[in-house]
Subunit: 387 residues, 2 copies
């Protein structure tokens, strides 16, 4: 619709036959999108064929991008650093629409009915809510602060944390999308820099900058009230710049236990989810970035900050021991499991490729060329809360 | 390919435009399939439009049918009572293939790599494994017994229980699909009549006929060993015929607690998943059939056996109290939530319709005509283990 560029990369003929009316058909459950951070493009990939399908260009600054999918797994909403929101049709392989909704954005989410896309912004701050179909503005909620950790909450709701005020705002769009009912949750802590919603939509975990520990909020409680957990988190480490603080998307809740990157240490921490107390540590090969559970929760895969970002380690979730160390490539930025956990796809930014491993034999299965790949997002995310 | 009948029911034009090459495109993440039990047909439905797309006929005896989806969410494998296995292309709306793989079958599963479909059989017993692409036979595992409760286990594996011998068989097809490595787990209990695998693929729960209590098997243990739980399950009730025993698909694991139908009583039981001990009971409006958690786990929806099968009750998972009683129609056989839980679709067999409710306001949103609908299956199941 707007700036539309389409490059055929390695177009693969659909495996199945034509439909009765002569159209080409393809299911979308096994597709995915890879962010190419340096070129403002995304690569559409096919999990079953372990192949790239096509590239869509013209998405602006993707140096710190994330995305979310429509419920039908056809459209990807890509949130760029430059405030751009791009709607990509992964079936047609086109840039269907693109708007600059703010000056500097950091992430977004789609409502559980698939009708609203929300974006959290640094400049001018607050949250913008747009129509998922047209990308037309629906609501602007200024908040007077930079916002972080935006997530979808069941019931046409969103939650976000405010960097400047240390609050969480729960926005309920169910009655009137343009005028959300707002619940402000104060005293979350100084300078939330990131946040995470658990997959049941119940627990919002907020990372704090310039203060030790983290905060959780039980969204099933009435009213929802902040509770401090892991009071020693980052306590004995020198203060790091905010961009060196671990992403909360690097947390995993495996059963009743959190596994998370330590701050500034070569360790993965374990914490009891109910008590919020640390229960143990595992030494690993570098400063962890993401601690990602295989979908069955039996193993955790860990990648690392430089200079150890060529390694990936696998931890047994029962023994908490490292059982495997892999060297899949240079600049491993992201790990994405196929939905039922059979494979893991790794972006090797500095090798310009995505590397695919069997998650049980640790055997390399395939590679896909990509331009400085960062995030890998499979369409199954459309069906999950908090992504 | 074989008996192919296609009836246009209420064909809806795709919302989005044509692709550049003129083909019609549609994502499959929001599609679903409704079993029409009396007519041997299935209805393909669109969650976003709350509408039927088309009907596929000629699937044989669907009086006790289930189905599973390919990883791309394009194909439904429908397991019929008569030993028929039908592969339906839900995008093209065609019966792509159909084989009679045994004399009398009761359910099936698809491997986590999407390559193998397994079917458990009463006649002649055992498990047949077929190629998911062609439906050609890959392996026959006789077992000398009727089999029940077949489920996919991560790593190209399947598990099944044997009615006659009281065993569980774990089939590992990862090294050689045609010659699975077999692990037999004895002493599961007398006459397993149904079984369930938890969504992490770890715990296999087996229901026993002619013996009180149930058995769980931890598939992460080496060797996996049966453990008896809920020793009083069904103890004070008269012995029921096997077709009156609760389906184990009626169980729910919400957090660390099982919720399950009592045997022959108007009660839902609560049990601690770790200890296997009963922790409480909730009185409900009839003999429960399915106790189904809303995807966030905050509520459980319950339907009932005749004569109370016109009612549905909603239980609060924190207080264990009934908070809502609905009368959605006559002969409510199945409840299926949209993947992020915003809506619930109910099959009202005796009203020949599917009824759609908002799962938070309990407001009726729409109805879809269907011929004696039973099971409703949304494509998001493709991404989950044990379904």
């Amino acid at each position: 619709m707007i700036r539309l560029t389409l490059t055929a990369l390695a177009l693969i003929a659909p495996a199945a036959a034509l439909a009765q009316d002569g159209t080409t058909l393809r299911g979308t459950g096994d597709l995915g999108v890879v962010i190419e951070r340096a070129t403002g493009s995304v690569l559409v990939v096919d999990q079953s064929d372990r192949a790239a399908l096509c590239r869509v260009e013209g998405l602006g600054d993707l140096s710190h991008a994330s995305l979310t999918f429509s419920p039908d797994e056809r459209y990807a909403y890509v949130f760029g650093r430059d405030g751009g929101l791009s709607k990509v049709d992964i079936l047609a392989c086109t840039l269907e629409n693109r708007v600059i909704q703010a000056g500097n954005s950091i992430g977004g989410a789609i409502s559980d009915d698939g009708r609203l896309v929300a974006v959290s912004n640094y400049e001018p701050g607050g949250v913008n809510v747009l129509d998922a179909d047209t990308l037309a503005p629906v609501a602007e909620i200024p908040m007077g602060s930079k916002t972080v950790g935006l997530a979808d909450v069941p019931g046409s709701r969103f939650i976000v944390a405010t960097w400047d005020d240390g609050e969480a705002w729960l926005l309920d769009h169910s009655a009137d999308p343009a005028n959300p009912q707002i619940t402000r949750i104060p005293d979350v802590g100084a300078n939330p820099y990131d946040a995470l919603l658990t997959s049941d939509g119940r627990t919002y975990i907020v990372g704090l900058f310039g203060e030790k520990g983290l905060t959780t909020i039980d969204l099933w409680a009435d009213p929802p009230t902040p509770r401090r957990i892991l009071p020693d988190y980052g306590k004995n480490e020198p203060d790091l710049p905010v961009y060196k603080m671990p992403h909360l998307q690097g947390w995993t809740l495996a059963g009743a236990t959190y596994a998370l990157p330590a701050v500034g240490l070569h360790q993965v921490l374990w914490a009891d989810a109910a008590s919020g107390q640390e229960t143990g540590r595992t030494d690993v090969a570098g400063q962890p970035v993401f601690v990602t559970a295989r979908p069955d929760g039996r193993e955790l895969w860990v990648n690392f900050a430089p200079p150890d970002n060529g390694k990936v380690q696998v931890i047994d979730s029962m023994t908490h021991e490292v059982k495997q160390t892999l060297e899949p490539g240079n600049g491993i930025l992201h790990m994405e499991f196929t939905p039922r956990g059979r494979e893991v796809w790794l972006s090797a930014r500095d090798d310009d490729r995505v590397v695919i491993y069997d998650s049980r034999t640790y055997e390399k299965l395939a590679e896909i060329e990509a331009q400085a790949p960062s995030g890998i997002f499979f369409t199954a995310r459309a069906h999950r809360t908090g992504l």
